[in-house]
Symmetry: C2
């Protein structure tokens, strides 16, 4: 057994059986090991941002890490933006990067780079394996780190000779998954006291992470019904189980002014698996923290902790009972019609999102405020961008579809965002993944026109406008999709959108709809 084989065996023994990859020469022995060791599903991406984003999406839906296999420093570099998003989402990834054979590193070969230096800003755990004998144990340690509490990006760097040399140590298995940290009982007691006064001192129960799954939310709903606290989420969350029949939440607005207005009545914020609300960007003369002066923040459970158990305990402490939670009613809307608008699009989605769908949302301008109405759609998962690096949704949707082959994945994205990682469509075609991509094509980085005013930069003149406009020439996403083997259509009215969306939900396999705004 060589090091490459011990790697694959360790991963499989540790319950990591999916590898998203874009390999090169230094990874060829790991690729060769795939044939000798059955059980690893390897999925090729044509660009590394697809690979790392898919691993993020996989973790969010599977609740266990996939591995990646990337080619040296530049291969890692191309994956960093989506590793950043994954890190901010609390996703665990076993991020494997090849390296030159140890003796070659003393020379300035073309691909020589500081791989550890590149990995550190986006990794919670970084290790370069020194020999083929250590690869198996290091892989198991990487899985353990990725499965930690909180989950992490664990970057394992493997010089070529650690792959091809024979090893005596063999494969290893990661220790069992680390249990999420429980909230301290004193924090629960304190929060219960705050909640007991919530009718007089308005209190927000702000949830993140796995506290946004339906079972945890049910406890939060009980607490809210019993105490008058408001269940809320940050503007962006890694994954929310939402829709008709589930506990609805208030979503803190994106815009600082709107957020401050919404937050001004709250005297207390109890946080579970998240922190206090922070502005996405800084703006001249505006605060970074979005809460009223004097508002107290009570951290019950840090990100990665056991939010569900904390909510359970908190519900008991305030005397809330099963069945008390108010749940979301289904939307009672007709199919919309007429010209395309954010409101019509949101209504169409609310009516048409199929039960059990996974909605990956990056509809930055079109959907930013309008998508609230989809809270009353059929029960579904909503996946959002936690790191702000656009181009996350086509790869993440790809990974979600690999994790959940029996569920429809809907990827809602702007035209600007989609172009960073459009190569994901090819992987969706190759793997016949059940992803319906909807491109909202407004031919601009439209959100930046708002942000331009937000940072008090005035009104963009012609040269500035040219940098915010992505028309001239217009992108044709149906051509791009077909170029990568994904059937596509273009719609220009709400009626056409409704028909194409319904068709896309009914048919299995990748499809793309370009919504021309």
């Amino acid at each position: 057994m060589n090091g490459a084989e011990s790697l694959v065996r360790s991963l499989l023994a540790s319950n990591v059986d999916v590898c998203f990859t874009n390999p090169g020469t230094s990874e060829m022995h790991f690729v060769a090991a795939l044939d000798r060791v059955p059980g690893m599903r390897s999925i090729l991406g044509l660009f590394e941002g697809v690979v790392t984003g898919a691993a993020d999406g996989y973790f969010r839906m599977a609740d266990r890490p996939a591995s990646t296999l990337l080619h040296l420093g530049p291969g890692l570099a191309n994956g960093i933006a989506n590793l950043h998003n994954a890190k901010k989402a609390g996703s665990g990834i076993v991020n494997i990067v090849g390296e030159h054979a140890s003796w070659h590193l003393q020379y300035d070969a073309p691909l020589k780079a500081d791989i550890e230096g590149l990995a550190r800003p986006v990794s919670g755990w970084v290790r370069t394996s020194p020999s083929s004998d250590t690869v198996g144990a290091d892989a198991a340690a990487a899985v353990a780190a990725a499965n930690g509490s909180p989950a992490q990006i664990a970057t394992l760097i493997l010089p070529g000779d650690t792959a091809w040399n024979e090893c005596t140590a063999g494969a290893a298995e990661a220790l069992g998954r680390q249990q999420p940290v429980k909230a301290m009982s004193s924090a629960i007691e304190n929060a219960a006291k705050v909640l007991a006064r919530a009718k007089d001192e308005p209190t927000m129960l702000l949830l993140g992470g796995r506290a946004l799954r339906a079972d945890a939310l049910e406890y939060a709903g009980r607490i809210a019904a019993r105490t008058g606290a408001v269940v809320a989420s940050q503007f962006f969350s890694p994954r929310i189980e939402r829709g008709a029949g589930r506990v609805p939440m208030f979503r803190i607005p994106y815009a600082v002014d709107q957020a401050l207005e919404a937050m001004k009545r709250f005297r207390h914020i109890i946080t579970i698996e998240t922190g206090e609300p922070i502005g996405f960007f800084a703006y001249p003369g505006k605060p970074s923290l979005m809460k009223a002066e004097g508002c107290q923040v009570h951290g019950v459970c840090a990100p990665g902790g056991d939010g569900k158990a904390a909510l359970d305990a908190l519900a008991s402490a305030v005397g809330a009972k099963a069945g008390e939670a108010k749940v979301q009613l289904p939307v009672e809307m007709a199919m919309p019609s007429g010209p395309l608008s954010s409101a019509n699009i949101a209504q169409a989605l609310a009516v048409l999102i199929p039960e059990n769908a996974i909605v990956v949302d990056e509809s930055i301008t079109t959907g930013r405020e309008a998508m609230g109405v989809t809270a009353g759609a059929a029960p579904h998962d909503m996946i959002q961008n936690m790191g702000g690096s656009i181009g996350y949704s086509p790869p993440v949707a790809t990974g979600c579809a690999v994790a959940c082959p029996d569920r429809k994945v809907i990827c809602l994205t702007g035209d600007g965002s989609a172009m960073y990682t459009i190569q994901a469509l090819w992987t969706q075609a190759r793997e016949n993944l059940d992803v319906l991509t909807v491109i909202f094509a407004n031919r601009a980085y439209q959100i930046l026109r708002n942000e331009f005013a937000g940072v008090l930069a005035g009104t963009p003149g012609p040269r500035a406008m040219a940098m915010l406009d992505i028309g001239r020439p217009d992108l044709d996403f149906t051509a791009l999709a077909r170029g990568m083997g994904v059937p596509a259509s273009k719609v220009t009215t709400t009626d056409e959108l409704c028909k194409a969306f319904a068709d896309g939900c009914r048919e299995k396999g990748p499809r793309l709809i370009e919504v021309v705004l």
Copy 2:
């Protein structure tokens, strides 16, 4: 004047008047300043790898740096792979990255990242400007660093408040360009002594950097004619002025075995603006250094130094005279015909490359060994990938075309390579750049099949083959090109290629040819 305006004024005063960009919220004031300060040509890329690769191409042809403008850590991250290639090519770039406003950095906002940490592995100079008053001087310092000897990637990080705050210090101008370091006279004398014995002790004159321009090569040709030394280049070089009428060179082969065979007779290597030959990758049981045992390496001029002056001095020292150099004869080949093959393709290019063209080569499998025949084409510049991160050629070709609007740029690339940065086509269309892209579509990471054997990984089995194959589905590059506004055609025979290539050279503006192999 605010900080953003002082930035633009400093860049312009320092002779940096092109900015390749993909900006976001934190960069809006810099974008706004474009309207208030005329003279900066701003060019939008839909992906940051296009932006940084274009800046590399611009430097290689213009011999002066462009600036970039990137959005926070992830925007920089997406540009790192092509910054890596630029660094290895010795290109200077003023790499400007936005950052959150200073007071926002204490919070874990979504886009918060260790920007300096990400920048360091690919930058020779990194600075975060502390205030609007320092932006002007810091920009001038960044230009000076980029223009250094050797040229560098200079990364300047600008928090949002350094852009929007008023400043009292104003713009600054970079000190004059640093002169390249001259070779020491002792090194010249030593090399001259080696050359005097070259007929008995075979000697290679190995050139890199600007020593590969026609004027410097002419000195090298004189030396060779007088002494019997062999003028040579590494397998990859940043830019070579070659073709009929110019001094030809021996190119050290890529494959280690072939390189060792070619190098075994040389007792001495004299290096000018490059180092001793290093294997691209490490292979089991093969050396990293590609030279004979006992071969002595004589470094005359380090990368970034004044190679031309060193060659001039060396020519004088060995008594070589103007007019002695042997120059390349024009190819005397007919237009090829018949099925597509590497040989036919190379012959077609040799016949058809127009005079004064800039050829950006990333035709990894199709062109790796066959392109030698183009040395007899009409005089042209050949640009190669120095960092090994594939996906360099469409962006670099974009930057070359911006630097040299009156010259035809020909981008030769594999299908696998092209997909990393295919978004460059859109920028070529928007700016109406005169780039003819030729995609050699073999539907595979074909080179990896060779490398698989090279690292002794055996024969790829079906699972490994699936990771080396990029068919299923086949990419349709004509659809992808049209989706981004670039006219495209597909060819399947040598005759069709010759016609499409000739047409593409005659017409101005971006075109793409997909060569189906």
